[in-house]
Symmetry: C2
Subunit: 788 residues, 2 copies
């Protein structure tokens, strides 16, 4: 979709709310507009129109072709004493549609051709039960797509499958679209209803209808059928699956007369919506006789308009009719207005769109909520944009990267609050500091260490919390990045009055704090502060790093900020990310086993909130420090040495098992009511930075969270972390009343940490019967694992 | 599996029936056998025994480790006033199993180690509901697999998952096996029951059982459950899927007390069976008190013994007990027999196996049906062996290839019969020959053409049929292969008395028969004989070739032999071929879209015969010659020229549509009662070579068929064609009561022919409700299509 002026933040017409791009489709139009007519359309407030690719002449030829074929069949049957239709002649080849002549198409290359949207012949029926009609339809589509492509049309709309019925015709329809996509370079937009409204579906005058292929019994069966809310979506899913999620395949979504439940709206929200099409019948009349939309319709459109690629609106069979345009055109031609007059006339109409429907949509446009702080162009650009995960332990970050991370006041406010409460409570509970000794019991300085200090944001917050609580502290800051270390040295001198003891070291190799004023004595740390969390909590190896330094934490009173963190999952449908990852596989064979960091937006959370099965579920938890009993043994005995020696513990796939206590496993069950498809798992984290130890329950823990359901409550507007996405190699389809069983592992050897994930699909087919219907591969990110 | 002497046709001990390779497993064995004991086992008729990898000492250490862990948990809970088990300590790391010491394992490298089969500790429970027990079990498996691997053991047996329950533990079990496979080079054989016999399953003394992890309620629920015939297979399917169909993963299948229905037997027939294990309890006693098996058990074993890789038989807890062996060994040691005496003693026992169960199995072995003519070593080697499809039009065949094809008397007998009947009927019906003209009405010679004569087998048969029917003929033989042409020239001179007019030409470029004795007159062909059929009928382009020559067939009487042919499909489960194709993908990216020619054997036809839905279903038909009305137009107007010019017909994906009349499409529904998985579609053909034209119905048509249900009736022992296999990129799982909807297309442009296929899964979940549960990709063989 081309970025139009008002959508382009670089443009001076940039508006701070979504922009409506409105077009028109006239199903009775048999000729494309003349240049003049097109100009008038633009003046009526429309930005584009659809154009038929072939005309009535071609239609009649195709009908004639099929009639000849029928006659031949009949003749053959008569010769054999059969009644017509009783048996087809096996040796009679099916009709072959001749190529187009100049009489068959009104379309030619023209100056506005690339802004035209071609509309394939509405009378084709690609999934007709009659094999010859479906074959003819497929040939017509190929002819039209090829000719439109030749003329320079960039996009054609194809009427969607006429039926949703199981398996039969949709596969055939899908294959025809796939063939047209492969043979041409045009984009194809399939015109789909949001759902089929029983009794409200117009019977299209297709070849099948003309030749009465639909048997009456079938038509009745159709009318009796219950409403199948997800039937149209399901057909679309088959089509795009057969087309391998082509990035040239889009949906034109027909807005229904009755807005459906949110679940279905959200399903389509995740699909590549190019057009929303609106017929006159979905509008109501207000008291002034002008068209309006119901609140439900407005909400639905407003929601879709927040998409990064805003869908275009197409008014169907609304606006000037061809005959009106012809009259208008003749009038203009007869009057020979001067160029100035014509321009003025156009300006007039532009000021006051003559079309009431367009006028109403423009009104809706003005009512759109302005973009919020979370919808800045920069943040919007991150929507559904895959970022490879960081390797913070193996790689040194650049200053600019630190700066981005530091730019999140919410996160650091929470950290300061956590340190503040920890210091306050330390005083209240009269906990001894580790700098106090029998010989020097009056030394009340709290020993604080910021491990992984980066450019010092946490150091600054710790100093401020100490000041606000009036707590005397000795503070250490550890940093392994030699370049950030220079920055810290300078800041210590300039800002912190050299109050901070800076140590250039990997925290896992630190000797511990040499207490001030006590030559040669290595003490313990009262408060350890780290910011090592990733989008999935533990995915940037916070557990391993804090383990590596926890032997320096004072016992029993010393604490770690964060105190604990949990990882969370929810299965999602995200065709866009699936297509994106598929396109990367050639260059990056691990693309489907990489946990991507991505600001998930045009996605559908398929799971429902159900008793015992929330929409977002916790996979596991890490708590710091780990129990002394054995964790310190790990750190002491097997810590760094374990990489080189094989001590007498454990054996995990050839490793020594040193880090096995940080392995995790979970098995979660998600409940899905409607049928759908998932492309992977969305991952999040929450962390308790500090939980009050008084146990009175009066003080809420200080938390941060990126869980969609919690972030506004716990850390609103925090932007430091986007979610993580664990893809599936193959989309996993599931029927209604499904339970998705997710198995996930956090695995580790002596050198790295990775995840493995597997999804199985079980469906309830009765009150007591649950059947397995499918499963994903076992996915492993070992090859792109996080290095320890 | 190593090929043993009697299985090797090169060996002089080669026996003309399946050979039984019998071993023993003793579940109470805690130490491997000494060399002497092992020798005695061999003398009792066994060929191998299993050996434990670790001993009681290790078991007690692991139990102790877990007890310590429980005590720590309890202590933590008491400190917090919780009852034990109420809440786990989140910061207490799980137990890590120490590596083995010399006290933990009796196993050492020894001279017979590679013939030993290691048996993993039976007390591990990889899918225990207790995460710590499953973690310990996984660690134990890793330690044991690694140590066995070190010692030189090539294969270890691992007890299968203890439960089949949906989703929960099996995924975890599967992942543990996968980890052991990746970390070691040993083969892993999972010991699975054929199905779980309710009430007959022995409760294994696993860690879970010892620590009472299985709650009583669960156990009761288990006992109440209905028999789930395919539950164990389903668990196996999960395991091998998670292990990516590793070729180092096998099944040891426990033969149940009650032989199950054929459907389940056939399911396992297609799996990589390494062992069949037989407990004493499946045997009955005959009147003499000796063990025997029921007829059902015998049939089942006989069937499995026809596999190319014959499974080994393992008698479980049958045969000498360790204490007996110890006594025996001591006796031998105390007696110090001379080498000659010992050898003699062994010979004696060998002659008369001391074990009654082994004796009975040896009896069964002698009862095996000798290998049939279709089970020669050569034909057996072709079982499940993938052959890339021929390109007979583009490539010239070698003489040896022709010779193989000619070596099938059944096929040529049928051809001769067809020609014989055609000639007989020609005479009976007094049809005029095309060599007769008004000027020369008395010329009664039938004009026969063999197109694609190769080395001449059909020419010989035509000559013989003419002789047998006393029909005067003029015969042409066309061949495009210049080298085969030389062979024909020689044969014509030496065998056929130069009666045959040989033309070196592609049949599609032939000018037609220049009638004998009528200078310059090009006539028509009365009988056209071709052998262009492939495994799927039309897959070697018979339709296109015959089209290219059919303008020379005399009308209305001229005929084509074959008259017509049909293609047929059935979905199959074939893990072996799936694994094979998967392993080829790196070198051949089209491996999964190639229709392979393969002698299908270790496969499972998953479809049932159901009303209106046979097990094998016809996809489409071709009839020759095509109706004159338009097919000749194709041939004449657009034949060969169509490749270079675009005539005014059709448009199929950029081609001119010349061959569009040979495109086909079908949609088939297959019914599956039990759940399962498919890996692709098996394809077959049938052909009517000649159908009587008298219409009296008295004469059966002359047919050939490779359809499993028809071949014995129509062309028994015909070996010219193996089936064709259309693979699926991903195995497609389906629940019980499923309908597999198969869409298939025969596609064509101006240069080649290819197939496309798609399978969708729909399941009945009530008398009226059918839900979609999955679908394959759309597969296309275009890239490996057959060149025209």
């Amino acid at each position: 979709m081309a970025s139009t002026g008002p959508l382009n933040p670089e443009s001076d017409t940039f508006e701070n709310r979504p922009v409506f791009y409105i077009g028109q489709h006239d199903s009775s139009r048999r000729e494309p507009l003349t240049d003049d007519q097109y100009g008038q359309f633009l003046d009526s407030g429309f930005r584009f129109v659809t154009a038929p690719i072939t005309n009535e002449h071609f239609f009649q030829r195709v009908v004639g072709l099929y009639k000849t074929h029928l006659a031949e069949q009949e003749q053959w049957a008569q010769q054999r004493g059969l009644t017509a239709g009783q048996q087809a002649n096996p040796s009679l080849p099916p009709p072959v549609v001749p190529t187009l002549t100049d009489k068959d198409t009104p379309l030619s290359p023209s100056y506005y051709i690339s802004s035209l949207v071609g509309y394939a012949s509405p009378w084709i029926d690609l999934c007709s039960p009659d094999p010859h009609i479906s074959s003819i339809s497929r040939q017509v589509l190929n002819l039209e797509a090829a000719y439109a492509n030749f003329c320079g049309v960039r996009t054609i709309v194809v009427p969607g499958p006429r039926r949703d019925e199981c398996g039969r015709g949709v596969a055939q329809y899908a294959r025809a679209i796939q063939e047209a996509l492969v043979a041409n370079r045009v984009n194809i937009i399939v015109h789909m209803p949001m759902y089929r409204e029983p009794g409200l579906e117009e019977k299209a005058q297709t070849l099948s209808a003309i030749f009465d292929i639909e048997k009456e019994a079938e038509a009745e069966a159709e009318a009796e059928k219950e409403i199948d809310l997800f039937g149209a979506w399901d057909s679309w899913h088959t089509i795009r699956s057969v087309c391998s999620y082509s990035t040239r395949l889009f949906v034109a979504l027909r807005i229904p007369r009755r807005a459906p439940e949110k679940e279905l709206q959200e399903r389509w929200f995740a699909e590549p919506l190019h057009f929303l099409t609106l017929g006159a019948s979905i509008f109501q009349q207000n008291r002034a006789g002008n068209p309006t939309l119901s609140r439900h319709h407005q909400d639905m459109i407003n929601r879709y308009m927040r998409l990064k690629n805003t869908p275009w609106l197409v008014l169907c069979d609304v606006g000037p009719r061809p005959e009106e345009l012809v009259a208008l055109s003749k009038k203009m031609a007869s009057e020979y207005p001067s160029l100035a007059e014509a321009t003025q006339a156009r300006r007039d109409t532009r000021r006051q769109p003559p079309n009431a429907f367009v006028g109403y949509l423009r009104y809706l446009e003005r009512q759109q909520q302005p973009f919020s702080a979370m919808e800045t162009p920069v943040l919007t650009n991150f929507q559904d944009w895959l970022q490879p995960p960081l390797q913070p332990l193996a790689d040194n970050l650049e200053s600019a990267t630190y700066e981005v991370f530091e730019g999140d006041p919410v996160k650091y406010d929470q950290y300061e609050k956590a340190v503040f409460e920890a210091m306050t409570e330390w005083k209240e509970l009269k906990k001894p500091t580790s700098s106090a000794t029998p010989e020097n019991p009056s030394n009340p300085e709290l020993v604080v260490t910021v491990a992984g200090a980066g450019r010092g944001p946490l150091v600054a917050r710790v100093l401020r919390a100490a000041e606000r609580t009036g707590t005397p502290i000795q503070i250490w800051a550890l940093e392994k990045n030699q370049d950030a270390y220079v920055y810290l040295l300078r800041r210590n001198k300039q800002e912190w009055g050299n109050r901070v003891t800076l140590v250039k070291t990997d925290m896992r190799g630190w000797e511990g704090p040499r207490l001030q004023g006590r030559e040669g004595v290595i003490g313990k740390v009262d408060i350890l502060v780290t910011e090592l969390l990733g989008s999935f909590g533990d995915n940037e190896l916070s557990p391993e790093c804090v383990d590596g330094i926890q032997s320096h934490i004072a016992r029993p009173h010393g604490i770690s900020i964060p105190h604990s963190y949990t990882a969370h999952l929810s299965p999602i449908s995200t065709p866009r990310l699936y297509a994106d990852i598929s396109s990367r596989v050639v260059g990056d064979p691990n693309a489907f086993v990489t946990p991507w960091v991505v600001r998930l937006f045009a996605i559908d959370y398929v799971a429902q909130k159900a008793p015992g099965h929330p929409k977002f579920q916790q996979t596991w938890e890490f708590v710091h420090p780990v129990e002394v009993a054995r964790a310190d043994d790990f750190a002491a005995e097997h810590g760094k040495a374990a990489r080189y020696a094989t001590p007498g513990v454990g054996s995990m796939g050839g490793s020594s098992g040193t880090n096995e206590h940080n392995a995790r496993h979970c098995h979660l069950t998600f409940v899905c009511r409607a049928r759908g498809v998932i492309h992977g798992l969305a991952g999040f984290f929450e962390s308790v930075l500090y939980a009050s130890q008084t146990g009175d329950g009066a003080t809420a823990p200080v938390e941060i969270s990126i869980l969609p359901e919690q972030i506004d409550k716990k850390s609103k507007d925090m932007i430091s972390w986007f979610p993580i996405f664990f893809p599936l190699k193959k989309p996993l389809y599931f029927p209604q009343d499904t339970e998705l069983e997710v198995s996930m592992w956090r695995q580790t050897d002596d050198t790295k940490v990775w995840y493995e994930w597997l999804v199985e699909v079980y469906t309830w087919v009765g009150p007591k019967t649950r059947i397995k219907v499918g499963a994903s591969d076992l996915h492993s990110s070992r090859k792109v694992g996080c290095l320890m």
